[in-house]
Amino acid sequence: MNNDQPIDGTSPSDALTHESAVDDSSATERATRRDVVAPFIAVAAWIVPGLGHLALRRWGRALIFFLAVGGLAIAGYLLRGNVFSPRAGDPFAMLGFFADFGSGIFYFLSRFFESAGPDVSRAAGDYGTRFIAAAGIVNLLSVFDAYEIALGRRTM
């Protein structure tokens, strides 16, 4: 008697076909789960810089993004940079708003850190405006990175 023959009478090739079908279905399930989870990861990464990577257990990247975005935003606020409002009339101010809004929770904390309001009459305030915008852009990069990792498109 052939010991490789399954007891139920199926051939080894049938068993392999069955295993690959199971693998295919589990891979499809994983992909579906990733598609559902990835947008939540992206939103978490936007709200709190680094949180998306933290949820994906990328500790180092989470810490780096939190410190970089937080450092840029807080330095910008302490330098009394301009925080753009969504009600700004001109297109450049709207671009500034989108950049600032990218920093998530740090945008909403701007009034806390910048209680005296912006002062761009001095060079420091102008630097601060750039710092705040850069914080938002860096956080948007981290959002895209977390989203790609969550979808499994990015392995590193």
Binding site: G60, R61, I64, F65, L67, A68, V69, G71, L72, A75, L78, L79, R80, A116, R122, A123, A124, Y127, R130, F131, A134, V138, L141, S142, D145, M156
Partner: protein, 70 residues
Amino acid sequence: MWAEIASARNGGSQISHLAAMCLFALLISIAIAGLTKRTALERVKYAASCFLKFLAAAIAIGWLMYPFSR
């Protein structure tokens, strides 16, 4: 540097252009290194390299603009 920033916030002495540029370059270099490299050693090396390139580019551009400053 943070003392200078706090001082600038309170309307005291201004943060220097160089200090502001160094802080900006440092934080952006750290973010880029975190985004593109995997291991801690690679990140440190890449962040240091980016930081130095930022400084070199800023100083070079500063000298290029110098003849037009007056």
